[in-house]
């Protein structure tokens, strides 16, 4: 396992595009999470109504809800995680472009090992993103939270696990696109087209099928943000915001991720290099 990871990171070691994108991602994710409270302070100052935004901040970044809220923002499928998706596509399409997948196999790497190496890199990337999320969560939480007891601080951290699984599954989906289309540009376009197509499909299909669509399936573990305010029931607006992670959602996500791995494996095994 370590051997495959070592091989993969050696490939990326002096690959500038990879590091540029990774830094860009880190910066954007930090801006996104840290920028929201800053933006609120700014709006508050401009509008002269500082206290209202303070309350809002205290709600959103309150332990333990903060974990669910930042996981929700960071896991948005149309947001910064696309950069990681692009990295996932590039690390596989490059191997086709340079034909290095071929020389890897000739030199004695098994096709299964090749796929496993890529999956390991993607897991490390997902873990990296989750760690940034954890760090920013601690910072914002301690800055804005009223209560910092252990039960509060570590409550709802299960949403971080949910985030990790969602992100990892999404990157596996991108890897699959890369293997399927081989060309970086084609895989990118397919990715963005599908990002647009699925909501349309969802609209056309019956409601009970929609959650099972691939991108929904791998993006539905953290469904919504939640704050103590959202738990208050207002007459006429009887909507339950997500409180906990549902086992079904996790199962759907795992099934899709496994299917993408299986499809990738079949293509790798069958296709000439």
């Amino acid at each position: 396992m370590i051997r495959l990871l070592k091989i993969e990171f050696k490939k990326l070691f002096s690959y500038k595009a990879f590091w540029v994108m990774l830094i860009l991602y880190t910066v954007l994710q930090a801006i996104m999470i840290f920028g929201i409270p800053g933006l609120m302070d700014w709006i508050g100052e401009k509008s002269g109504d500082v206290s209202r935004f303070r309350i809002f901040k205290a709600l959103v970044f309150n332990f333990p809800d903060i974990w669910q809220n930042i996981a929700y923002v960071a896991s948005s499928r149309y947001f910064v995680k696309i950069i990681l998706g692009i990295i996932a596509i590039i690390i596989i399409t490059n191997e086709y472009h340079f034909l290095t997948i071929r020389s890897n196999i000739i030199n004695g790497l098994g096709r299964g090992e090749f796929l496993a190496g890529k999956l390991e890199v993607l897991f490390v990337l997902s873990l990296f993103s989750t760690i940034i999320l954890v760090l920013s969560g601690f910072y914002l939480g301690f800055m804005n939270s009223v209560s910092t007891t252990i039960t509060h601080v570590f409550g709802k951290t299960v949403f971080l696990g949910g985030y990790l699984l969602e992100l990892y599954s999404y990157l596996i989906f991108c890897l699959f696109l890369g293997i399927l289309f081989k060309k970086t540009g084609v895989a990118f376009i397919a990715h963005f087209i599908y990002l647009i197509i699925e909501p349309i499909l969802e609209f056309k299909l019956p409601d009970n099928i929609a959650p099972y669509l691939p991108l929904n399936g791998i993006n539905n573990i953290v469904r919504s943000p939640n704050t103590s305010l959202m738990k208050i029931k207002i007459p006429g607006f009887n909507f339950d915001f997500q409180e906990a992670i549902s086992f079904t959602d996790v199962a759907i996500c795992i099934v899709w991720a496994s299917l993408f791995i299986a499809f990738s494996w079949i293509i790798l095994k069958k296709r000439n290099l």
Partner: protein, 298 residues
């Protein structure tokens, strides 16, 4: 002799093109085995199949008497078509990746880079290399881990005459250590100069498979006949300067030292009281022979 590679009734079609047509052959340990054929004759496809990057439609092959596996591939060093490396990585890092895949110590990198005279460029990115340097790096990569078999596909393609002769020397030097070598080429001259065995391919079919000396004998042969060929054979075996003889049809094909003229042979036979009924020189131009071999298969 120990068999390094056995191929059995291998077939591969690309649509209408039968790229590899019922191909069978074996390679013995220590051979320098040439695969000779014009462009598009199925050489690279065959190599792709035995290196597990192309799947055959049917047929089988085995390395070292075992079915294909990644462990077998680690015992083989190969260059298929163009040199393939990560362009943005240095020569050394590219070789490190291969060491990691093969499970070979990094300490070998320096010696293989010295062998191909690239040690001074080990920190340069692969994309900055000239074609000849890329080709040499590919050879260095193939040498990592002291492979038991080395496979070269058109190793001198795109090289200048100096580079060509350097690579040929290198191949011969490696072969001296007992490494089995497979060399695919469309150049007759290249195969003749380096190989001990040759397989001639055309349209994916095997035309000939055997020792280079048999198919590409370089010296001329005398066709000789007398009333009684057995007596003739006895008499000629006493002739100073004869290399080999064999009967073919009603003729005796004999090879002599370069200094021997047909005149000498005739004179010798007459002195032994034998009158020849036939004596002629069979010209064995290499190119002609190769082309003949290829055209006869139609």
């Amino acid at each position: 002799m120990e068999k390094v590679l056995s191929i059995n009734n291998l077939n591969k079609r690309y649509g209408k093109i039968h790229a590899v047509n019922n191909l069978s052959f074996e390679i013995e340990k220590g051979a320098i085995f040439g695969i000779l054929g014009p462009n598009g004759s199925g050489k690279t496809t065959t190599l792709g199949i035995i290196l597990s990057v192309i799947s055959a439609d049917n047929g089988a092959f085995s390395w070292f008497g075992k079915p294909p596996s990644k462990e077998n591939r680690k015992r083989i060093g190969a260059i298929l078509e163009h040199p393939i490396f990560y362009p943005y990585l240095s020569a050394e890092r590219n070789l490190q990746i291969i060491c990691d895949i093969k499970g070979v110590s990094y300490s070998e990198i320096e010696s293989v880079l010295k062998t191909v005279e690239l040690i001074h460029r080990k920190d340069s990115k692969f994309k900055t290399f000239s074609y000849g340097m890329k080709q040499r790096l590919a050879i260095a990569a193939a040498l990592l881990g002291h492979p038991e078999v080395l496979i070269f596909d058109e190793p001198t393609n795109g090289l200048d005459p100096k580079g060509i002769s350097e690579i040929r020397e290198l191949i011969l030097r490696i072969a001296k250590d007992g490494t089995t070598i497979m060399l695919a080429s469309h150049l007759l001259d290249e195969v003749q100069k380096t190989c001990s065995h040759v397989l001639v391919l055309k349209n994916g079919k095997k035309l000939f498979d055997g020792k280079v000396g048999e198919v590409l004998a370089s010296s001329d042969v005398l066709e000789i006949a007398a009333e009684e060929n057995e007596i003739l054979q006895n008499v000629l075996s006493g002739f100073d300067g004869i290399i080999e003889m064999k009967a073919e049809g009603g003729l005796l094909l004999a090879k002599f030292n370069d200094t021997v003229l047909p005149f000498d042979v005739n004179k010798y036979c007459i002195s032994k009281g034998l009158v020849l009924t036939h004596l002629s020189i069979r010209k064995r131009s290499l190119e002609k022979q190769f082309l003949e071999l290829l055209s006869h298969s139609e």
